[in-house]
């Protein structure tokens, strides 16, 4: 191909016009558009994965921040009730009277349940009036009319209304605070309530909600906007008003609490995002390596025709720019689609405690990270195979140093350089092991180190695998010819970069999935343990319907106690109390278990202390168990006194240190009588029903349900049924991890398959040559499949092995950082299933292309 024949001359020696480089690209594109399309698709897929995981990660805590900001507007401070107990609305007058207060607004937040024609939904009722509009919260402009504030209606976000089958003007069932009523609804879309439309918040006029909840003139929050420079004075004034019965917090306090509660989910999402990004990036590099041979040929051709290295570099950079622009644009579009359809956030397990939503947050950083990642992958993929040209185009003084390390310009790399990669890998591995043993709290750093170790040690692992297979194949009297041919191909230098990129893609994907899926499985086992343990305290439970009942954040007055106690199937009725309380930056879960509960403390949850002793102390009163992270934050140890900042501050002693009982921010467990004293409230979260001898739990459940009646807002469940529901809710927070793991594996399989197909395609001349010597198509096909299998298996097995170490690290990290009830165990089942899936799926995908390559005519 003569370049000068196309008029693609240089403007002056050493310079190639951009237009000429573009024209040259166009000419070459016509000849190899399929390969270029594959490269663009590879970049697009990598960018899409990177973008979608970034958006998923940002969208986790973004909605809470966004919604909170939209609710609190310009307020800087808030007076916040302790637990779910409200304080008098008249406090508002006291607040407004404080010097320095510009505006304030009362609000009432109550968890409950909505029942429509098509189903029911857990919901947070948010009550406010026109005073809140003056704070300029962007989401509550609907309260501006005093008429609207007086109406006895609910404003439902349209998706929620659709989900329960409610239309404007319909009556829906409202279950809250142990009451059940029907209320007409207004359905609002994004135009009316902004991002509230993506939440499970129902807006209610304050006075109406107070009536529905039966709490007179109570409110749970007073939002306060101070005049400039007066925030400190106002805070002091609010603290005087709170007088130890309520808390004074920053207006964005909810966001901070949420961040702490969602930490395990967000941390795991971050780790997955990093690993997905790595897989996406490797995917893109793999795809570009498909065209590496063509680019090498071009570089040689231009060199032979007298092009200076800088002109060749320009040609290649134009290649990279065109592929990057098209690939990144397509990738961002595909990523947007993926993030809308694939990564639906589900953190509804926290909906009983926070006004969360399904809002998708797209920041410029997400776009930039994905775009730059794609660009970087393109440049590396284009230039790495022709690094000699890159080095030659550098200023002379830089060349020797670079060519020593890259082996460019034909110089073999120094032995020291060859050993540097395994040495780096070994150092990273050692550091990760040290973190696992000594500092599992820094699990994210450990996982990144493990990933680096895996990639840098992979060349040595692959070489080792080939050597071992050679030894096995040559040990006996007969060798498998197909294996021998495959191993010889794996030793060939011309394929090494691509083979390693393919193996690395699989290794990283399997590593991530094994590590995090294993840790998730351990966490799930731990959660099952705690949930079953808590529920085993009573055979039958009666709790308010809706998400709030899972952690007992929805309460009701225990008016049916006597009636239930008289039922023949019931031996005794216990009053179970629970609620949330804000301690520093944690919204802790407080459990008040009945004194006569068969098992006051769930089994296997005590990390420090004696089960029997702690149980008797809890029953006696004045003692509580505290979860590890909370105890560490407060500097508590067994026997030490601490004050529970409830509505009535109560002094308790630490009976034992436990796991967090499945609530990420931390848990405190005491007896229900102490709970009622602290909360200054007799409301309960559940009836704890013990069954009479000879009666089954199912029979007792039926009797209780019949006694409460069909219109009761209470849900009656056996311990097993309640456990299933709680687990479903608790495990939802981890569902995103499964989605990302699945997509990462899928992307890895696609990347490996596409790159391997390209690699096999380039084997055609060799296959044709061997067939010329009489080697048959079947033998060549088997050899290609074995070559692929060895490559995939080595990458996946290495990933699986490192993934098992990652599992231990992650499991211990989650345990230490969050105090979750994790059961430590090596999930070999997860590792083997992941390895099997990646190897099996990828192998299946290359069987047909391998067959086509093997059918090439001898030549």
């Amino acid at each position: 191909m003569s370049l000068t024949a196309w008029g693609l001359g240089t403007t002056k020696p050493g310079r190639l016009r951009l237009s000429s480089a573009l024209a040259l690209y166009g000419v070459r594109l016509r000849k190899r558009w399929v390969q270029e399309l594959l490269a663009v698709l590879g970049i697009a897929a990598g960018v899409a994965l990177l973008y979608a995981t970034q958006v998923a990660s940002t969208s986790l805590s973004g909605p809470v921040q966004s919604i909170n900001q939209g609710l609190v507007g310009n307020s800087q401070l808030q007076l916040l009730s302790r637990g779910s107990a409200a304080f008098p609305e008249q406090t508002y007058e006291l607040v407004m009277a404080l010097p320095g207060v510009r505006r304030a607004a009362p609000a009432l937040q109550v968890p409950g349940n909505l029942v429509g024609r098509h189903g029911e939904r857990g919901v947070t009722f948010f009550g406010a009036d026109p005073r809140i509009v003056k704070l300029r919260g962007t989401l509550l402009q609907g309260f501006s009319s005093s008429d609207a504030a007086q109406q006895e209606t609910l404003v439902l976000p349209s998706p929620m209304a659709r989900a329960i089958g409610a239309k404007v003007g319909d009556d829906v069932g409202v279950e809250l605070a142990g009451r059940s009523v029907t209320v007409p609804v207004v359905v609002a879309g994004r135009d009316q309530i902004g991002s509230l439309v993506d939440t499970s918040i129902a807006l209610v006029p304050l006075a109406y909600l107070q009536r529905l909840a039966g709490i007179g003139q109570g409110v749970t929050r007073i939002l306060v906007e101070a005049r400039p420079g007066e925030v400190s004075n106002v805070r002091r004034g609010l603290q005087r008003i709170a007088a130890g019965h309520a808390d004074v917090r920053p207006a964005d306090y909810e966001s901070r609490l949420f961040d702490e509660s969602a930490k395990p989910t967000s941390q795991a999402s971050t780790i997955f995002s990093v690993l997905s990004a790595l897989v996406g990036w490797l995917f893109a590099v793999c795809a570009l390596l498909v065209t590496a041979t063509e680019r090498r040929k071009l570089a040689v051709q231009q060199h032979d025709q007298g092009y200076p290295p800088s002109a060749t570099l320009m040609t290649l950079l134009v290649d990279a720019a065109v592929i990057a622009i098209v690939g990144v644009a397509a990738g961002l579009a595909a990523g947007e689609l993926l993030s809308r359809r694939g990564f639906e956030s589900d953190i509804s397990f926290l909906s009983g405690a926070f006004p969360i939503g399904d809002l998708r947050i797209v920041t410029w950083q997400s776009i930039a990270i994905a775009g730059v990642g794609g660009l970087l992958a393109t440049v590396v993929g284009v230039l790495a195979p022709v690094r000699g040209v890159v080095v030659a185009s550098l200023p002379r003084q830089l060349r020797p140093a670079l060519s020593r390390t890259t082996g460019a310009e034909g110089a073999p790399p120094r032995p020291a350089g060859r050993g540097a990669l395994p040495a780096l890998g070994a150092a990273c591995l050692a550091a990760a092991v040290a973190i696992t043993i000594a500092a599992p709290g820094t699990a994210v750093v450990g996982l990144v180190l493990l990933a680096i170790a895996l990639v840098t040690l992979l060349p040595a692992i692959l070489a080792g695998a080939v050597t071992v297979l050679e030894w096995i194949n040559r040990r006996g009297k007969r060798s498998l010819v197909a294996v021998e041919l495959a191993l010889q191909q794996l030793r060939a230098r011309q394929w090494r970069t691509r083979a390693l990129a393919i193996a690395a893609t699989g290794a990283i994907a399997v590593f991530g999935a094994t590590a995090l899926e294993g840790a998730r499985a351990n966490l799930q086992t731990g959660l099952e343990d705690v949930v079953r343990g808590l529920d085993a305290a009573a055979a039958v439970w009666a709790t308010p319907a809706g998400a709030g009942s899972v952690y007992g954040t929805a309460t009701f007055p225990p008016s049916a106690t006597q009636a239930l106690a008289r039922l023949p199937a019931i031996r005794s009725v216990g009053l179970y109390r629970a609620g949330l309380i804000d301690i520093d930056n944690r919204r802790a879960w407080v459990v008040g278990t009945p004194r006569d509960a068969e098992q006051a403390i769930p089994r296997h949850q005590i990390l420090e202390g004696d089960m029997e002793r702690a149980t008797s102390r809890i029953r006696a009163g004045g003692w509580a168990t505290v979860s590890r992270a909370l105890a560490d934050d407060l500097g508590l140890h067994i026997g030490q006194r601490f004050t529970l900042p409830a509505r009535t501050p109560t002094v308790l002693r630490v009976a034992a240190i436990t796991t967090n009982l499945g609530w990420s921010a931390g848990a405190i467990l005491m007896n229900a009588t102490d709970f009622a004293r602290s909360w200054a409230d007799d409301a309960v979260a559940a009836y704890h029903l013990r069954v009479a001898p000879g009666t089954s739990a199912a029979e007792a459940r039926q009797q209780v349900a019949d006694a409460l009646g069909p219109r009761s807002p209470l849900r009656v469940e056996t311990a097993a049924q309640r456990g299933d529901r709680q687990l479903t809710s608790a495990l939802k927070g981890l569902s995103r991890l499964r989605q990302i793991a699945g997509l990462t594996l899928l992307a890895a399989i696609l990347a490996m398959t596409a790159a391997m197909t390209g690699l096999l395609w380039q084997h055609r001349p060799i296959v044709a040559g061997l067939k010329l010597h009489g080697l048959r198509a079947g033998l060549m096909w088997r050899s290609l499949v074995i070559e692929t299998g060895v490559l995939f298996s080595t990458g996946a097995l290495a990933g699986g092995m490192f993934g098992l170490l990652g599992q231990v690290l992650c499991t211990r990290g989650v345990q230490v950082v969050t105090g979750f009830p994790v059961v430590e165990g090596l999930r070999l089942d997860v590792a083997s299933a992941t390895v099997g899936l990646v190897v099996g799926a990828s192998l299946l995908a290359v069987i047909v292309p391998g067959y086509m390559v093997a059918r090439v005519r001898p030549s």
Binding site: S479, L485, Q489, A492, L770, L772, H773, G774, R776
Partner: protein
């Protein structure tokens, strides 16, 4: 099958080992018909090295591919020890190339990841199904070809001359009856060319093979027992005089 192919190609005394009988192969290029091979007939006997001389595009490579059972002629036949190899099935043609034929290419088609010894042993490996035995069998051959010190060197570290000798060793490793050499000296300097051609001639004579050497290297003619010229698909003359004066 291998045994069948072998038994039928054992040389019969007095008959030519390789025989082309009125072979035609035409291609259509647009409206034009290219006569790549046009009625070629000649024989190569056991222990005989025949050179087929001709410029590029004269039809030499097409004739070789037909003789290797890769392409089929439009008419005529190629007989190896009396059996027409142009009618073999793909499977039998592969067996024929494996056990009866030795092929030597101009350009290196060695496996870069494998040593000189393993490259030479590729055909033996299929035959004996033991790399150890295959290596043992071909090592003396490589030593005979002057590569005793380079047995364990990877193919990509060998010189062009050494690679060519490894390819010869590979072709000879199964003791073939027929050897087809396609421009085996095309990428070698003069000294190396003479070495390779001498090796090929000696092997042909000592192993009683029928060797067909396709070349446009005039030096090669001196090593041939007979020389033909192929011009536009048509075979001309025999003997040293068949080569036109440059």
């Amino acid at each position: 099958m291998a045994e069948a192919v072998l038994s039928e190609t054992t040389p019969r005394s007095g008959s030519p080992l390789l025989e082309f009988r009125d072979v035609h192969k035409h291609y259509r290029s647009g409206s034009e018909v290219v006569r790549a091979v046009d009625g070629v007939s000649f024989t190569v006997g056991a222990g005989e090295l025949v050179a087929l001389y001709g410029p590029s595009g004269s039809g030499k490579s097409t004739l070789l591919r037909i003789a290797a059972g890769i392409d089929a002629p439009d008419s005529g036949g190629v007989f190896v020890n009396g059996r027409d190899i142009t009618v073999l099935s793909d499977r039998d043609a592969a067996q024929y190339r494996m056990y009866v034929l030795g092929w030597i290419n101009q350009a290196s088609d060695l496996l870069d990841g494998a040593s000189a010894l393993d490259n030479a042993a590729v055909k033996q490996l299929v035959a004996v199904r033991s790399l150890r035995r295959a290596r043992r069998n071909v090592a003396p051959l490589l030593e005979e070809l002057g590569l005793g010190q380079r047995l364990k060197h990877r193919a990509d570290t060998l010189s062009m001359g050494e690679r060519q000798r490894v390819m010869i060793a590979r072709a000879l490793s199964v003791d073939p009856r027929v050897v087809l050499a396609d421009e085996p000296t095309g990428s070698l300097d003069t000294r190396r060319s003479h070495e390779v051609l001498a090796l090929l001639r000696d092997a042909t004579h000592t192993r009683q093979m029928a060797t067909l050497l396709v070349t446009h290297d005039e030096h090669a003619i001196a090593y041939a027992d007979r020389v033909y010229t192929l011009q536009d698909g048509v075979l001309h003359g025999s003997g040293p005089d068949a080569v036109p004066t440059p």
